[in-house]
């Protein structure tokens, strides 16, 4: 019968462990939950400052704000502008922050702050309706020049992207021909590019980008060219024809709208300040949960009270693991199988030393009282019931006396599970009567040792972090415990116990 295959069992355990680990890795990648507790992530804090001189009239200021900038995700937005009404309005494909005030005069300053998380994979959602190329009319002789340049660029290209690149190259000063010189003046260069591309039947628009550098103030936006290739908008540097959004470039404005419109004021201008911040990666991940499909799998969706309960509950498997390991592999005797885990949970709440003192005090006082109970010859159930009441008296007494003496730690005894303590006392007392004090000491010390080991594991910040944020890792613990259940090797304690067998070897 030894040949009975355990292969299916091992495969099942392997699958369990693999499922736990891969689910954890998947959630790590998808939600960005960090493996370690202290991990920090950079985010960019950008502040747009709008200044204008109000004309003693009603004012409406409207600032284009980023919507799905490529390579970034918006974490938070807020506006600071005393006395102004504020709202973010989405219309015709652009998001605008709008400030309004009935009466304003003199210099005014408005702030709009937003936090951005770098996320290389972030892409704007493609427009619902593909944009159409705008119709552009040219007068002679520009019309001829435009046609010739476009013909030249078209001849050397095959796709909208390559046409754009060729066109930009043709418009550069060092390659300029007569035709281009006729068209280009310094201030209309980008506008001209956009018009020519639209004329060629390629939807094109301009965008404004902000170069993100730490601790910069009064930054201005740099213009970029965007074309629509039939699937999505592509960004080009209008000078170098480089395709794509450069690293650390935030496209603040994309689309048709203007950057800033102010009605009822003069001298309006906008400047940007940039700050690089770091936030705990975990905080970042939890802030994003709502926006991601996997977020509902997390405990952060629960009310805070339930969360803290689960924080505790999810530590229990670790304690159970320690007990299983200590009993089956090391061979430490404990009184009551999982009593050490419950004691360890209490230690987590009381911290170790006060908890240890309180526990020992309660148990030893309880043992003394149990000695009297045993001389009364009570039946089991009523004896335990009486013991539970006595344990509650002891803890209450210790709390009150401790508090009066100025030790707040006295109060922590209330964290101990009363019924479990009562049973512990009962079991220890029977053990004492039957096997003597030595065995009580061995099992008591064993229980405390295992409880302290479990406590040390459970109170490690990493353990709390992993169990709460990656609950699927408990599948791994489960798998390991199942594996241990099949461990048929010698316990460490048996190597000691069987030592006299040496002589027969």
């Amino acid at each position: 019968m030894t040949s009975r295959s355990r292969l299916p069992f091992y495969i099942a355990v392997f699958l369990l462990i693999a499922a736990g680990i891969s689910l954890a890795i998947w959630r790590h990648m998808e939600l960005g939950i960090p493996w370690l507790t202290g991990e920090q992530r950079p985010i960019w804090m950008v502040e747009a400052r709008v200044d204008f001189d109000a004309r003693d009239d009603s004012v409406l200021a409207s600032l284009n704000v980023p919507e799905q900038p490529p390579g970034f995700r918006v974490l938070s937005e807020q506006a600071a502008s005393p006395g102004y009404g504020f709202s973010v309005i989405e219309k015709s494909g652009s998001r605008r922050a709008e400030w309004s005030k009935r009466q304003a005069s003199g210099p005014q300053t408005l702030y709009f702050k937003a936090q951005f998380i770098p996320e290389p994979s972030a892409e704007p959602t493609p427009p619902l309706r593909p944009p159409k190329a705008r119709k552009v009319f040219w007068e002679e002789p520009q019309a001829t020049a435009v046609r010739e340049i476009l013909d030249q660029a078209t001849a050397r290209s095959s796709t909208p992207e390559s046409l754009t690149r060729e066109l930009i190259r043709l418009m550069q000063p060092d390659t300029r021909t007569q035709n281009t010189t006729l068209l280009v003046a310094e201030e209309n260069y980008l506008r001209l590019l956009e018009d020519m591309l639209n004329h060629a039947g390629i939807p094109a628009r301009t965008a404004d980008g902000l170069k993100l550098e730490d601790a910069r103030r009064r930054q201005q936006l740099t213009p970029f060219l965007q074309i629509y290739n039939g699937e999505r908008w592509l960004t080009f540097d209008p000078k170098t024809a480089e395709q794509g959004v450069p690293e650390n470039l935030l496209l603040w404005r994309q689309g048709a709208g203007s950057l800033l419109d102010v009605i009822g004021a003069d001298n309006s201008e906008v400047g940007f300040s940039i700050l690089r911040q770091t936030v705990p990666a975990l905080q970042l991940a939890t802030m994003q949960f709502e926006s991601k499909g996997l977020g509902f799998l997390s405990f952060y969706e629960l009310p805070i009270e339930e969360q803290s309960m689960f924080r505790m509950l999810l530590l229990l498997p670790l304690g159970a693991f320690v007990v299983a390991f200590m009993r089956m592999v090391i061979g430490i005797r404990t009184s009551g199988t999982f009593m050490p885990v419950l004691i360890a949970v209490a230690f987590v709440q009381t911290t170790l030393v006060p908890g240890l003192i309180a526990f020992l005090a309660v148990v030893s006082i309880g043992l003394l009282m149990r000695g009297y109970l045993s001389s009364l010859n009570l039946l089991l159930v009523s004896r335990i019931s009486a013991l539970i009441i006595l344990v509650i008296f002891i803890t209450a007494g210790m709390s009150i006396i401790g508090y009066q003496m100025g030790f707040n730690t006295g109060m922590t005894v209330t964290f101990f599970p009363m019924v479990i303590i009562a049973w512990t006392i009962e079991r220890m007392s029977i053990l004492w009567e039957e096997e003597g004090g030595r065995e009580v000491l061995i099992q008591g010390a064993g229980s405390l040792f295992v409880a302290i080991c479990a406590y040390l594991l459970m109170s490690a910040p990493l353990a709390g972090h992993l169990t709460f944020n990656f609950p699927e890792l408990h599948l791994v613990v489960l798998g390991l415990i199942l594996l241990m259940g099949q461990y048929t090797g010698y316990k460490l304690s048996e190597l000691k116990r069987f030592t006299p067998m040496k002589v027969y070897d």
């Binding site: 019968m1 030894t2 089956m328 061979g331 010859n377 039946l379 089991l380 159930v381 039957e434 096997e435 259940g485 099949q486 461990y487 048929t488 090797g489 010698y490 316990k491 048996e494 190597l495 000691k496 116990r497 069987f498 030592t499 006299p500 067998m501 040496k502 002589v503 027969y504 070897d505």
Partner: protein
């Protein structure tokens, strides 16, 4: 600290706790048979059908109100033992060896009155000594008069013989002698002496107390080298028959030798301990594996006992 390496233990074929639980108890012992061995009353009734003798059952006290008649019931009895049916490890067993007017004399020589015994019976019924604290039944058995040739080795108490039976084959045996440390109980971890017995002949091999080898009984001072158990084959057959009675593949059979009635079954144990290996100076595994490898197991207890005597002495 002195340690033995796992390799040495493997070479000796020492069965360890985890392997015993996983490979033997969990695999060969049907859970449904446990109540049978955990309840001495049921054990008695079942093995009786298979011709295994047990100490004579005098009374069964099932209900609280039956206790008030205890004095009348015990009127004609000289010596007797009160046992909880579901007790384990000798807990709650009170042995009365004689009478002195109204008082009863315990095995230790102490005198107790009838009220003491009534209270004891109440405790048994309430489940004070039962495994999970469940309500229990008290049984009153006739006293075992230990055969003097073995009894003289034991300090008080009745020496018993533990035989580990695997799939009906007796695989290893030891004699357990009570000591002062074990308080008259034949319980090894309480300090009783375990004397390994040669399965082939019933002669003593080694002796241990508290897991340490000894050669003299610590209290009686008698040499433990040349003990010979009489009617050895009969005892092995008896142990073997308990397999048919209970269906437990791996169990410990506790026998006593009564001066008048011969070998009697005291109790069965579905989770026999490992210390028997140390008393024998042999590991259990080679013997267990021999049986597991048997292509044609023997169906008659007598054949199994003979097979064990012929085969295992050398292992």
């Amino acid at each position: 600290m002195d340690w033995i390496s796992p390799r040495q233990l493997n070479r000796l074929g020492m069965l360890n706790m985890n392997r015993r639980n996983v490979d033997y108890i969990a695999r060969y012992n049907d859970r449904s048979s446990y109540p049978l061995v955990d309840n001495k009353l049921q054990t008695k009734l079942v093995v009786a059908e298979y011709g295994v003798k047990t100490p004579e059952l005098l009374q069964i006290v099932r209900q609280q109100h039956e206790i008030s008649h205890f004095r009348e019931m015990a009127e004609d009895l000289g010596g007797f033992a009160i046992k909880p049916a579901k007790g384990s490890g000798g807990k709650g067993i009170t042995v009365i060896t004689g009478r002195d007017d109204d008082a009863y004399i315990k095995a230790s020589g102490a005198r107790v009155d009838a009220d003491y015994l009534k209270r004891h019976l109440t405790n048994i019924l309430a489940g004070l000594y039962s495994l999970a604290g469940t309500p229990d039944v008290a049984i009153v058995e006739s006293l075992v008069e230990s055969a003097p040739e073995i009894a003289r080795y034991s300090f008080q108490g009745v020496p018993d013989i533990r035989i580990v039976v695997f799939q009906g084959y007796p695989v290893m045996a030891m004699l357990r002698l009570a000591t002062k440390a074990s308080d008259g109980k034949a319980n090894l971890h309480q300090g009783a002496v375990g004397v390994g017995l040669d399965i082939g002949t019933g002669r003593s091999l080694n002796a241990v107390q508290f897991n340490r080898p000894i050669s003299l009984h610590p209290d009686t001072g008698l040499a433990l080298e040349n003990i010979q158990i009489d009617a050895w084959q009969e005892m092995l057959e008896m142990a073997s028959r308990c397999y048919e009675a209970t269906g437990l593949g791996y169990m410990g059979v506790d026998l006593v030798v009564d001066a008048n009635r011969g070998p009697l079954l005291l109790e069965l144990n579905a989770r026999p301990g490992l210390a028997i290996q140390m008393a024998n100076g042999r590991g259990l595994l080679p013997r267990l594996r021999t049986i597991e490898a048997l292509k044609r197991p023997h169906f008659i207890p007598q054949e199994r006992a003979t097979f064990a005597m012929d085969t295992f002495a050398a292992l």
